[in-house]
């Protein structure tokens, strides 16, 4: 192969001289980013076609975390599959649990006690905050700000304490069960939760003081990675990603499930769909989630937390069902085909991250590699959701 060789310069080393000697060449080159890369949030692999600092093309390669969860679902009973839903979206296990529980309840026509519905809402919203905190921490870490990472994890630990006192786990909760929730909340929960909400409102203002108007942060995020609404719709984006593009698509509002129609909350939307808008949407969602949790705590009715007289082995009637909820990353749904057996015949999982990851390519072409990190952080993709 004919390789370019080093040739001694004729005369002084200047740019003109280098061009004359043809030492300065322009060509496209490929960069492999991942699967082990601190800012790919797991095991995403990107092949970037670069021209200097600029991205000309990009291909994500997925499948490094394919755990065949859909296949496992065919070999488990409906209740046995619940722990696996925790592991599909581990940053937000409660919403995954809820999505599976609502799908099975819809299939088998199971009523859920009111108190359980309220507890589900509280837990899911707390988990939404926890999940957005991980996003805030990791995204700002990718942009070079270490402080928000430490702050975000400090607040997250409080939420984890609340979960731990309820169900004993820190990450994979398995708390929401088919027909209700696993157990009632302990007596201290309400006080601690209210204290958290009170404290957290102030903390959100702190995050905003650090980031929102910070010139470095603005420079890294404003007008970067603009996702037009049509494109977002075509690619199947959902959650804060599509809401950042000025579209109020939230399953909690458009197709209320559980008891979400009883609460008063707004859907924050962004203006033009850049990284900063997606950031602002999530920051605003912190506040809205706090509002929902407070209302749910106020209205928490007495009663059972799990529907009694459920058979130990559930055999839903034959048929198929699709049910979706609004997880922190967007729309999450389960499509179940049942043939009347104790195990599902087929389960298809619709996750938000897969659609959101597709937005990475069109938004980042033409930008610099450092912007790619910001865009990827703002999409809040989590790989087990993509690969399943």
């Amino acid at each position: 192969m004919d390789r370019p060789r080093f040739r001694p310069h004729a005369g002084k080393i200047t740019v003109d001289n280098m061009i004359e000697n043809k030492d300065l060449r322009e060509e496209e080159f490929l960069i492999n980013m991942g699967p082990q890369h601190p800012s790919t949030h797991g095991v995403l692999r990107l092949i970037l076609k670069m021209e200097g600092e600029f991205i000309r093309d990009l291909t994500p390669y997925v499948g490094y975390l394919h755990r065949s969860i859909e296949k496992i679902a065919e070999n488990r009973t409906y209740n046995q599959f619940m722990p696996f839903t925790d592991r599909i979206d581990y940053c937000a296990s409660m919403p995954s649990n809820l999505a599976w529980a609502t799908a099975v309840e819809k299939l088998a026509a199971i009523e859920v006690p009111e108190r359980a519905e309220y507890l589900r809402v509280i837990m899911v919203e707390l988990n939404r905050i926890a999940s957005h905190l991980i996003w805030l921490g990791t995204m700002s870490l990718d942009l070079g700000a270490v402080t928000p990472f430490l702050y975000a994890f400090r607040e997250r630990e409080w939420i984890l304490d609340l979960f731990e006192m309820t169900c004993g786990q820190r990450l994979t909760y398995h708390y929401i069960r088919i027909g209700g929730v696993a157990r009632d909340i302990p007596v201290e929960f309400e006080k601690s939760c209210r204290a958290f909400i009170k404290d957290f409102r102030r903390r959100v203002d702190d995050y905003e003081a650090i980031l929102t108007e910070n010139p470095i942060f603005l420079g890294r995020t404003k007008d970067i990675g603009i996702l037009p609404l049509d494109l977002a719709k075509d690619l199947g984006a959902s959650g804060p990603t599509i809401r950042g593009s000025n579209y109020g698509w939230d399953i909690r509002k458009v197709e209320p499930y559980s008891v979400y129609d009883r609460f008063d909350f707004q859907i924050p939307i962004g203006a033009n769909g850049d990284v900063w808008d997606r950031y602002m949407v999530r920051i605003e969602e912190f506040r809205q989630s706090c509002k929902i949790i407070e209302q749910a705590l106020d209205g928490l009715p007495e009663g059972d937390t799990v529907r009694s007289k459920l058979p130990t082995v559930l055999r839903p009637p034959a048929g198929e069902v699709f049910s979706r909820i609004e997880a922190p990353r967007g729309e999450m749904g389960y499509y179940i085909v049942s043939n009347g057996d104790k195990k599902p015949f087929r389960v298809k999982i619709r996750t938000a991250s897969y659609g959101n990851l597709q937005c990475l390519r069109p938004t980042s072409i033409g930008l610099k590699i450092a912007d790619l990190v910001a865009i990827f952080g703002s999409l809040d993709v989590i790989l087990p959701e993509v690969d399943r």
Binding site: P35, G63, E157, L171, T172, P384
Partner: protein
Amino acid sequence: MGIIEKVPAYIERLPGGGIVTTSMDWVLNQSRASSLWYMLFGLACCAIEMMAAGASRYDFDRFGMIFRASPRQADLMFVAGTVTHKMSKRVKLLYEQMAEPSYVFAMGGCACNGGPFYYDCYSVLKGIDQVIPVDIYIPGCPPRPESLMEGCLKLQEKIKKEKMSDWASDRKEV
């Protein structure tokens, strides 16, 4: 001067200073054990707990453990999460890129033996020890940060028992 009392050393005081005669093994092991830099390598759920262990409340920095993004700078690798067959080649490559002496933690059920994905699963490696040697196994799904720290203390004990003469053994032959 707390530490100097624990040194297996002969100390002679001279005007204006002193002479310490001690074992090379002890000095090296002590310094290696108290500055373990780990590779930031998250695979799945367990990685979130690893991050939590490094963040505000649990604070790995107390152990002298700072995360590095590159295997070249790391002494220690937490295999935190599910390793699929597709990923296992990369994990092995990363392990081989780490400078000697390097240590491996199998964190969580998945890395120990496949964990919840042991049965009915065609794509998950049943234990990372099929690919690379493991020093410490931490069970749990996911393990709490406390167990991670217990593991680190165990590793420090292990390091402190090492001899320079053992280093020549080729650990990298899997």
